[in-house]
């Protein structure tokens, strides 16, 4: 019997995923990944415990109902190195990161898959609404789910062929309603948590406060890091707002507080709606412009990963998605460097944001994607 490790969160989707695989005849092992937890016990008490623990308890109950072995694995170090450090680093360089993508690639897949293979499993499985197909060209790609409203492929574009070939997504073949129904029928004790839009490790969505705390903690632990004048902390220093003509029009609070397309919380009056058009780390400036100045018809991306194709020859017409909530827009992509791509949209798109991922689709399949640099 082939072994499969199911990453269990205690929620409906991963719980039913475990059940479906069990029905398909796999030997299923449940694992909850412990990735982030406040290390300060006293502050944990003040916040009434940590989110991770309730997930563990929920998942453990589900595993016990399904009668499968269940373990908690510690990935705090991997999460800190690959997700938190990246998240903070990107903001400090005036980019707007997507930590879920880094978490998927390096923690949920790389680290979990490695340890699952270690303990004798052939696959890892998740409760994602997507499916993995082997295409006629021999490549693995991710296909959008039948539950279109809940498409989760955007955050998965960065998975490698090796990772995809060892991954199962059993709920992708079903509608969300059917999965809920199954959970109810099986009397699985699952938590019916709403899907969170917030970043899991940032309380109250206050990422600027989070970054400040994180850097302060780091500074206290390592005496060789200083906050004053150090380049890596520049994103926190106040600087000038400028308009698109280059004139200084006010003072900003530090680049980490801003993202391209932002309108709220700028604290300046221009006589018309004002938006962040660009962040300039080299001069510590925030460029402000009108609504029409937030639109652009092109972007450049690097850190590329291809899925449905091995590499990009010449040009290709795709649907390109520039953020999780973006519907996707028709565009042409072509290579401009060994790890660089130019993407030109048929229609200008609003708020193309450096640091976010751009993901390319051919129909329902993920072609590949990269990180927007400008």
């Amino acid at each position: 019997m082939e072994k499969v490790v199911v990453g269990m969160s205690g929620g409906v989707d991963s719980s039913v995923a475990a059940y479906l695989l069990q029905k398909q005849g796999y030997e299923v092992i449940g694992i909850t990944m412990q990735i982030w937890q406040d290390e300060d016990v006293c502050s944990m008490e003040e916040n009434g415990g940590c989110c991770g623990l309730s997930a563990v308890e929920d998942a453990r109950r589900v595993a016990s109902v399904l009668d499968i072995p269940y373990y908690v694995m510690n990935f705090k170090q991997e999460f800190r190195d690959n997700v938190i450090d990246y998240f903070v680093g990107e903001y400090l360089q005036a980019r707007t990161p997507n930590p879920c993508i880094a978490c998927n690639r390096y923690v949920k897949w790389e680290a979990l898959l490695k340890r699952s293979l270690d303990i004798g499993a052939s696959y890892i499985a998740t409760g994602h609404y997507a499916s993995i197909d082997k295409l006629p060209n021999g490549r693995f790609s991710i296909k959008k789910s039948v539950t279109q409203a809940k498409d989760q492929t955007y955050a998965l574009y960065n998975l490698t062929q090796h990772q995809l070939s060892h991954t199962l997504m059993p709920v992708g073949a079903f509608e969300k309603d059917k999965i809920r129904e199954l959970a109810k029928e099986l009397k699985l004790p699952v938590a019916n948590k709403p899907d969170s839009q917030e970043i899991c490790f940032v309380p109250d969505n206050d990422y600027a406060g989070f970054i400040a705390n994180y850097l302060e903690e780091k500074r206290q632990k390592r005496s060789d890091v200083s906050t004053d004048g150090d380049k890596q902390f520049q994103g926190m220093l106040p600087g000038n707002y400028v308009n698109t003509a280059g004139e200084i029009i006010g003072k900003h609070r530090g680049l980490i507080h801003y993202t391209v397309g932002q309108r709220k919380g700028l604290g300046i009056a221009m006589g018309q709606p004002a938006f962040v058009v660009e962040l300039r780390p080299e001069s510590n400036e925030v460029v402000i412009g009108g609504a029409n100045e937030v639109f652009s018809d092109r972007l450049i991306a690097n850190r590329l990963n291809f899925m449905a194709i091995e590499d990009l020859d010449g040009e290709m017409v795709v649907d390109a998605k520039i953020r999780y909530s973006h519907k996707g827009a028709r565009a042409t992509i072509k290579r401009t460097g060994p790890d660089e791509i130019l993407c030109i949209f048929e229609e200008p798109q609003r708020a193309i944001t450096p640091g976010q991922a751009v993901v390319f689709y051919d129909g329902d399949y993920v072609v590949g994607g990269g990180t927007i640099i400008k």
Partner: protein, 392 residues
């Protein structure tokens, strides 16, 4: 092999059948509340007193110096918090070690947030407290030294007598967390200069949910739990009569069998360590070779994740542990292994196996064979190991 091989006796132990038998009547027939006036309840009061006497005698204490608690952790919390409170007029400084159980360390962190100053003394590479540092750390405001009798992870036994003497010389109270040691080692509170001591029944084949704090007569103590006159008005809450009776019985048996049991555990433990050291490369034993709990073995295997090793041992029906169990069951690098100087990556590949008298030589041999196979397999899949072997 379908049989479970339980090698995690530092986490908890099997309750002895004799202990269960002694407890049973106090659930079914003799269920009265010891605080009540009628004859039916006084039998329970008597049973509690008898258990208290057995325990007091086992450590050379007076009956009135034993206070039952809900756990060893509660006893640790009580000792620290109550001393900080009752001796606030004398000072606000507590000294402890870097390798204490979290019941002590987290309580210290809590107290630090409430104005108490805490000094954490280093240990040497075998986990033995640095006595010179301890003595130097004492200030006029020091009110308490709390050092564990024996470590739960690496089994190292502390120089308790010397610590007791230092405490006495400087007129500082001395508390020891003896949760791992009580029932395994001979303890006499007067000989060792112990003023307060925590212990727990389930570590010595007694039931879970019952512990005690020994408090030497004359020491000022404040209650941690309020709401009744139980335990000489120091620890409120209806007595856990079956638990207390079971604790008494477990101590009685632990003392009777200590010599023989310890001999067997040492033999099994030594066989385990010898085979692992001889047959598996790149492994080290953590903790002191001599001053060590009889049932404890703690290894670090280079190039592997202890977590994967534990899961794979579980698949072979072998129960082990890596560091101390945390609430969620997932593992951080142990603060004890880091304190004895292990680098993070070595601390991650650690395995603690703690034997009991129920274990056989055959069990040990089966376990070593499996550990050997699993470590080999994990190393074959480890990029770190591959790099290391290439460089050789």
């Amino acid at each position: 092999m379908d049989k479970k091989i339980y090698l995690d006796n530092a986490a908890t132990t099997k309750t002895r059948p004799e202990v269960v038998e002694a407890m049973l009547p106090y659930f079914t027939d003799l269920y009265g509340n010891p605080s009540s006036v009628y004859e039916f309840a006084t039998q329970n009061k008597k049973a509690v007193d008898e258990a208290r006497e057995t325990i007091a005698k086992a450590m050379g204490a007076e009956i009135s110096e034993i206070y039952f608690t809900g756990s060893g952790t509660e006893a640790d919390n009580w000792a620290l918090k109550a001393t900080a409170d009752a001796y606030a007029a004398k000072g606000n400084h507590i000294i402890t070690s870097k390798i204490e159980h979290h019941a002590i360390l987290h309580t210290c962190e809590y107290l630090q947030k409430h104005g108490v100053e805490v000094t954490y003394i280093d240990v040497d590479e075998n986990g033995i407290l640095k006595l010179d540092e301890l003595e130097k750390a004492i200030r006029p405001t020091t009110i308490l030294i709390s050092v564990m009798f024996a470590n739960n992870e690496i089994g190292t036994i502390q120089p308790i007598k010397e610590i007791g003497a230092i405490a006495k010389k400087h007129n500082v109270l001395f508390h020891t967390d003896a949760v791992q040691a009580f029932g395994q080692l001979e303890i006499n509170v007067d000989d060792f200069g112990i003023d307060m001591m925590s212990a727990s029944a389930h570590k010595l084949n007694g039931p879970k949910g019952i512990g005690f704090l020994y408090i030497r007569k004359g020491i000022k103590i404040r209650s941690l739990i309020h709401g009744g006159a139980q335990e000489r008005q120091r620890r409120a809450g209806t007595e856990n009569v079956p638990g207390i009776v079971g604790f008494g019985k477990a101590v009685e048996i632990a003392l009777e069998t200590m010599e023989e049991r310890t001999k067997k555990e040492i033999m099994l433990r030594n066989l385990l360590m010898k085979r692992v050291l001889e047959e598996i490369p790149f492994v080290r034993v953590n903790g002191d070779k001599v001053r060590r709990l009889p049932n404890n073995a703690n290894f670090s295997f280079q190039f592997i994740e202890g977590e994967s090793l534990l899961i794979m041992l579980d698949m072979k029906n072998i129960c082990g542990s890596s560091g101390s169990a945390c609430t969620s069951g997932s593992l951080d690098p142990s603060h004890v292994l880091l304190a004895i100087g292990l680098p993070h990556e070595v601390a991650h590949g650690s395995l603690r196996l703690t034997v009991s008298e129920d274990i056989t030589e055959e069990d040990i041999n089966y376990t070593v064979d499996r550990v050997k196979e699993i470590v080999e397999k994990l190393r074959q899949m480890s990029p770190l190991y591959e790099d290391f072997m290439k460089k050789r």
